[in-house]
């Protein structure tokens, strides 16, 4: 009974896959499916291929958020100079609970990475289509950022060990490689090109550099850290100006993807944390970046109308709310530790609660609505099937 239901479901979904693909992809798909059928029973093959075709790099938002939460809690339960009561309360977060959180994040990330590797292997043309899309290409950074965040928050890998170093190199090199490719496009194809493709998700590339810088600085590799930091900040400057100008208007981003506007304040927060890791203290530059991020956050929060359309139906883009909030909360924690005022701690408390609530809420909502997670007519993955793929 269950099997027939699954097979019917997968058949139904399979019939819906075909019109979406381009003819070349569908012929490719059939060859893939024939190779897959040699490996798996056909029902599992159907459901797997349906998942793989609908899956895209944007799903790494989930692992990004979970990794951010793990880093946040690792910082909160770690050693601190902050003597306030709030910090004491938070410090009581049981280490085992943190371990559970980290393991959960690791599990999700591994699952997503596996799925994506399979997708690369079996549906490489789709991955290429993602790469050529102006929104999709930025999410190719997301897996590496998630791994870097998990590495930083790992409970058993100390920063100055060889394993940490090796892992860091393993995750940072793809980030730099993607940088070279993408920023090179901006640079050599002229400003006009950037102004047509720039959209808020482009900040993910900047965040990638900055997270890499932070991870390197915690290893003690100052020069690497400063290099990645400056790379990120220069491009952030260019991007900030371009995005603020909105030369081409708001038509570059579909309404469903409005949650990614939260990335506007994610980038300065990560920069503030990265600079703090590099210099060792939350100095004026970090404070300025934190304040800028706070200002942009307030700006967005005062405009709920922007997000109304995207909140109508649950989709994975909702996870885009979580990571920026988590990083802002983390930055506010560092700020409160530095400044030690009551207002700073109230702010920290507010942002902490907000980020935890949002992450928790999203997790529960996703677990309850797993079917909606991979919808048949996901407008976002539908974007990548537009005829951009060249033969």
């Amino acid at each position: 009974m269950a099997l027939t239901i699954i097979s019917m479901a997968s058949l139904r979904s399979e019939t819906q896959i075909v019109p979406v693909n381009s003819p070349q992809a569908s012929s490719f798909t059939t060859t893939v499916q024939s190779s897959l059928s040699a490996v798996f029973p056909s029902r599992i093959k159907h459901s797997l291929s349906s998942i793989l075709t609908k899956f895209h790099a944007g799903y790494f938002r989930i692992s990004l958020s979970l990794g951010g939460q793990a880093l946040l809690w690792k910082t909160l339960i770690g050693p601190t100079h902050d003597k306030s009561t709030l910090r004491h309360v938070v410090h009581m977060f049981h280490p085992t609970a943190f371990l559970l959180l980290w393991c959960f994040a690791l599990f999700i990330l591994s699952l997503l990475s596996l799925l994506y590797i399979l997708r690369c292997f079996f549906y490489f043309k789709m991955v290429k289509a993602e790469f050529l899309h102006h929104v999709g290409v930025n999410y190719l950074f997301a897996p590496w950022i998630s791994w870097l965040l998990l590495l930083q928050s790992a409970p058993f890998v100390a920063p100055k060990t060889t394993s940490y170093l090796v892992l860091w190199w393993f995750f940072a090199v793809p980030v730099v490689a993607l940088d070279v490719k993408i920023y090179g496009h901006w640079f050599t194809k002229g400003k006009k090109f950037l102004s047509t493709v720039a959209n808020p998700t482009s900040q993910i590339s900047v965040i990638g550099n900055l997270v890499g810088a932070q991870a390197a600085a915690s290893m003690g590799w100052k020069e690497c850290a400063v290099c990645l930091f400056s790379l990120g900040m220069v491009h952030y400057l260019v991007l900030l100006v371009t995005l603020y100008q909105r030369f081409s208007g708001s038509d570059r981003l579909p309404a469903m993807l409005r949650p990614v506007f939260f990335l506007f304040f994610a980038a300065p927060s990560v920069a503030s944390l990265a600079w703090e890791s590099i210099t060792g203290a939350f100095d004026t530059a970090s404070k300025m970046l934190f304040f800028l991020s706070l200002f942009l956050f307030t700006s967005l929060v005062f405009r709920p109308a922007l997000f109304k359309r995207s909140m109508r139906r649950f989709n994975v883009a909702w996870w885009a709310y979580s990571f920026p909030l988590t990083i802002l909360a983390l930055a506010s924690t560092e700020y409160a530790e530095e400044v030690k005022g009551s207002i700073a701690h109230i702010l920290m408390f507010l942002l902490l609660s907000l980020s935890v609530l949002v992450s928790l809420g999203l997790t529960i909502f996703t677990l309850l609505n797993t079917r909606m997670l991979l919808p048949d007519n996901d407008p976002i993955s539908g974007l990548y099937h537009l005829p951009i793929v060249s033969p």
Binding site: L240, R246, F302
Partner: protein, 540 residues
């Protein structure tokens, strides 16, 4: 069409140039029952009699609006539109279904009024005032209530107008301003455009009073700060300037701020629609930051004899409304659709950004730490964006003048104030401050050597706002020369101060000439009276 009104004069026109403010304010405030149709008969005597006949011809011959009785101007925005339609029937675009032409209001009302009163005199006034009614706050409603109280019969027509009026229109689209106006300050009407208020007569004073009048306060208060620095800075002590100059200028600034604010507040109360239109004007919106900047300058330039230290709460009180305003405006730049930066960027936007630095400067001089850094960070980020955008001269940007205009001096404002703010935050005039100061100096010189390209512009009150960058540059030079004392730097600071003072003096003379000799200091404010026609292709 409009030339019919040529023969109808407003009571204010005679007195407009001489003492506009007292007349109108007297008229308005002296009547506790502010009903303009009671005011009208009093001053009606000044109206020439031929106007009466004209009035009748106007009211009879004007075609009735096709869509029936328009409701009262509860939403003055609609009235504006209606005015345009009422008067520009021949050339107006076909009325959209929503707003009812307000022409009916004049048409239906004066006629019954005429029949009720049996005299033409009040009708003229009513007609004239009705034209400006659209700009008044709750004009129709207030008048109707008051006239209902007095048992006038036009209440029926008014009530049906009110009921049929469509309320609630959204913001005046920014495209209208760009299509209808031209010039570096978007003040001049394009040839193909018409305005909803009569062009050939002087409007009520308050309608002619732009928000850019706060520029005078900006100019004078920054002068007060400059003279205070001249008297107290170590590098200029050799000049032996006394603090009395600062004291005098400071009190003059206080008086000016009080005067300008009270007049503008009266305008807000009485002509809310006009204020809204100024807020939606892409250039004038930046002047809404000016009052806060002026107050900050006043706090910065407070003479030592008045107060040596100011309470910290004052800084929070001044910066909170500023913060909300900039959240709104910067949010529009980044997230809004119509008013995004690539469309509306113009040099006057610097006024929106420089306030951050002035606030940071004041806060840091009071000893605050976090707040000034906050505003400095926000100001720096947005200044960078604005600077790049303006330098790019994007093709979507229509407001940047091709020639030089005094507005370009605003480029110098932000870096010079930022350098001082950073010096106060850090405690000394360090590298960051020096870098920003040199940027300001370079921009100043690159404009100064092109001074012969600044010519042929119509004087406007906004020019006062453009003097404050020069003054700020002078103050920054004094701070710099206090840190790096040498003959060169001291000479530079003295020269810049002299230039700033001379400019302000010249501007003062020009203002006086315009005010009393030419009597056109406050010309009809065309920019807020543009009609709200939906843009048709042939109108572009």
């Amino acid at each position: 069409m409009d030339n019919r009104e040529n023969h109808v004069s407003i009571e204010l026109q005679e007195s407009a140039s001489a003492e506009p403010v007292p007349d109108l304010l007297k008229l308005i405030t002296s009547n506790e029952v502010v009903v303009f149709d009671t005011i009208m008969p009093e001053s009606e005597t000044s109206v020439p009699s031929n106007g009466h006949q004209r009035k009748f011809s106007i009211s009879i011959s004007m075609p009735s609006s096709p869509t029936g009785a328009a409701s009262a101007g509860t939403k003055n925005v609609l009235d504006v539109e209606d005015n345009g339609k009422g008067f520009n029937d021949s050339s107006s675009v076909e009325a959209p279904s929503k707003p009812k032409p307000k022409g009916d209001k004049f048409l239906s009302q004066p006629m019954p009024k005429g029949s009720v009163f049996g005299e033409a005199a009040p009708n003229i006034k009513k007609l004239k005032d009705k034209r400006f009614n659209s700009f008044k706050t709750w004009s129709g409603r207030l008048e109707r209530q008051l006239s209902n109280l007095r048992g006038r019969q036009e209440s029926e027509s008014e009530s049906e107008e009110e009921s049929t009026q469509n309320l609630g229109r959204e913001a005046f689209p920014v495209d209208r301003y760009f299509n209808a106006l031209e010039g570096p300050e978007l003040e001049t009407l394009r040839a193909s455009e018409e305005i909803v208020l009569p062009d050939d007569k002087t409007w009520p004073f308050l309608l002619r009073y732009p928000i850019s009048s706060f520029g005078i306060c900006l100019g004078v208060s920054s002068q007060a700060v400059m003279w205070k620095t001249l008297a107290t800075a170590t590098s200029t002590k050799f000049l032996h300037i006394s603090l009395t100059v600062n004291l005098i200028l400071w009190w003059i600034s206080i008086a000016l701020v009080a005067a300008v604010s009270s007049v503008y507040l009266t305008k807000v109360v009485l002509y809310l629609e006009a204020v809204r239109r100024e807020y939606y004007h892409p250039i004038r919106v930046n002047f809404f930051f000016a009052p806060w900047i002026v107050l900050l300058f006043l706090a910065l330039g407070v003479p030592p004899s008045v107060a040596t230290t100011l309470p910290v709460a004052l800084w929070y009180v001044l910066m909170t409304p500023f913060l909300f305003l900039e959240l709104k405006i910067y949010g529009q730049w980044m997230l809004g659709d119509q008013r995004r930066l690539s469309k509306v960027a113009n040099p006057t936007n610097h006024l929106s950004v420089v306030g951050n630095f002035v606030g940071a400067l004041l806060g840091a001089s009071m000893g605050l730490k976090e707040g000034p850094i906050f505003f400095f960070a926000v100001g720096l980020a947005h200044y960078t964006v604005l600077f790049v955008t303006l330098n790019q001269r994007l093709p979507t940007n229509e407001t940047l003048p091709k020639d030089l205009h005094p507005v370009f001096f605003l480029f110098v404002a932000a870096p010079s104030v930022a350098s001082m703010a950073w010096a106060n935050i850090q405690g000394s005039f360090d590298y960051g401050s020096r870098i920003t100061y040199f940027i300001a100096l370079f921009l100043y010189f690159s404009l100064a050597v092109r001074v012969n390209f600044f010519r042929g512009f119509k004087f406007s009150l906004a020019w006062w706002a453009y003097t404050f960058p020069m003054t700020s540059a002078a103050i920054a030079s004094m701070r710099y020369s206090s840190a790096v004392t040498s003959v060169l730097t001291q000479t530079l600071s003295v020269i810049l101060s002299v230039v700033a003072t001379l400019t302000v003096t010249a501007l003062l003379v020009t203002t006086i000439v315009h005010a009393f000799v030419l009597r056109d200091l406050f010309p009809n404010d065309i920019a807020i009276a543009i009609s709200d026609r939906k843009p048709k292709p042939q109108n572009r």
